[in-house]
Symmetry: C2
Subunit: 266 residues, 2 copies
């Protein structure tokens, strides 16, 4: 048993969908969240820059004595996890492989769609892992750069978002995918809209998959906090934006006060 | 006469519309551009963070011995210019007041619209300056957070961009504005689409206004470079993204190589 908190980070607010799933799945655990709201978004930046930013954040979370870290940002998971997991001692969970594992259980025709930011898709990490886990799989990937700003504008289900989603998703549907991985932690905010368009295609929400994997990891290593209900979570940001509070309320249905820290000096 | 270069900066690629206007207006001048592509966009961040980032960039440009600096970012101009102009010796031109001055010449009914990023609109800087310059003016402002990602996706004139622009602009048209300031240096990329919607409303392109103001400033202070045609411009970025090359080609119709530097340490 281990009562220390779990660190979770994202480029900004998208990782809150992962926080929400972890809270549902592991109500005893205490979370420390960092959102890099001063430098968000990571999705159109290079691997080198994303890795540099992630390294600063890992240093910050480890200074809080966390027992493990969840990289709740698909861009950082796909571009920086391999480099960074060798540099730090704490166990780290990323958001790519849990979605891939769930997809392996779900697909029947082995034709799989993946949507994410430009940097996630460009990294090729989903292709690589899907091909490892599902022999003979066909992967069709598509970057959807407007999904994050649409979700943050709060246009989660209007005509413009539906038309944008149609443009992005039609070419995947034309390939006859039977499952679709939401490869960006913002995208669960648009899940109703995406579901309307893809119809019977099975949607894999990587935020849910990751929370399940974290629970299994803690159980296998006897690291759960069994004693008491979580005494609350702490939220840190690099810029105190109103957007953070707004999305925090939307996703977690609770108003958390975030503390601003200077991440660039770490 | 002063042969030194002129510094120009923006949060990312939007400032290239200002560069384009300066090149047309002052073909003899040499420009040094910095685009903060690692931390772009600034539009949804706080004044404090935008000022901190801008200060680092000013230090960098001044190290290049520039004779003046153009803050080609509306968010930095409206949130940080007043603070920073007192801190550094070099003459600085921002992009807010030139558009306001042009608007004063154009409006007949004194009902003026302003569109920009969340941070620019929230700063209230346009309101303040318009009220100073145009007694009795009515100002109607609207943040348009999706315009930057739409322009960067290259969707400058499709159905989705037109529908989005209709949603954002209708409430300004309802107020019977007779002129509209494009208060973000990205927005000239969407000017055809915006023009279709606003019809007879006069559009003020702050990038054009700023280039004219810079020319007048250099002439009044005998600081133009009269001797030779510019020997070329230099571009620096904080992250080497493909987006920078793509928009650079689109706006300047030329392929410039950008040099990456570490801005956070300045």
């Amino acid at each position: 048993m281990d009562q220390r908190p779990i660190g979770v980070f994202d480029s900004g607010v998208g990782g809150l969908t992962v926080v929400s799933e972890i809270i549902k799945s592991l109500p005893n655990e205490e979370l420390i969240y960092f959102g890099d709201t001063a430098r968000v978004p990571y999705g159109a930046k290079t691997a080198e820059t994303v890795t540099k930013f992630s390294r600063q954040i890992l240093r910050f979370l480890l200074s809080k004595d966390v027992k493990s870290i969840v990289i709740a940002c698909s861009t950082a998971s796909s571009n920086s996890f391999e480099t960074l997991s060798g540099e730090f001692g704490a166990p780290m969970i990323e958001v790519i492989s849990p979605g891939v594992e769930d997809c392996a259980h779900v697909t029947r025709n082995k034709i799989v769609g993946v949507i994410g930011t430009e940097a996630t898709i460009r990294s090729g990490r989903y292709d690589e892992l899907l091909k490892e886990k599902i022999p003979g799989v066909q992967v069709h990937s598509k970057a959807c750069p407007l999904f994050v700003p649409l979700a943050e504008e709060g246009w989660t289900h209007n005509t413009i978002t539906r038309m944008t989603a149609e443009i992005y998703l039609q070419e995947l549907l034309d390939k006859e995918i039977d499952s679709l991985i939401l490869g960006c932690t913002h995208y669960p905010l648009l899940i109703d809209c995406i579901r309307d368009i893809v119809g019977p295609v099975r949607i894999i929400n990587a935020a849910e998959s990751t929370a399940r994997k974290l629970r299994a990891f803690l159980a296998n290593n006897e690291m759960e906090n069994r004693e008491h209900k979580s005494k609350g979570h702490r939220f840190y940001v690099s810029d105190n934006t109103r957007k953070f509070s707004r999305i925090c309320n939307l996703v977690l249905r609770q108003n958390y006060e975030a503390i601003k820290i200077d991440i660039e000096s770490l």
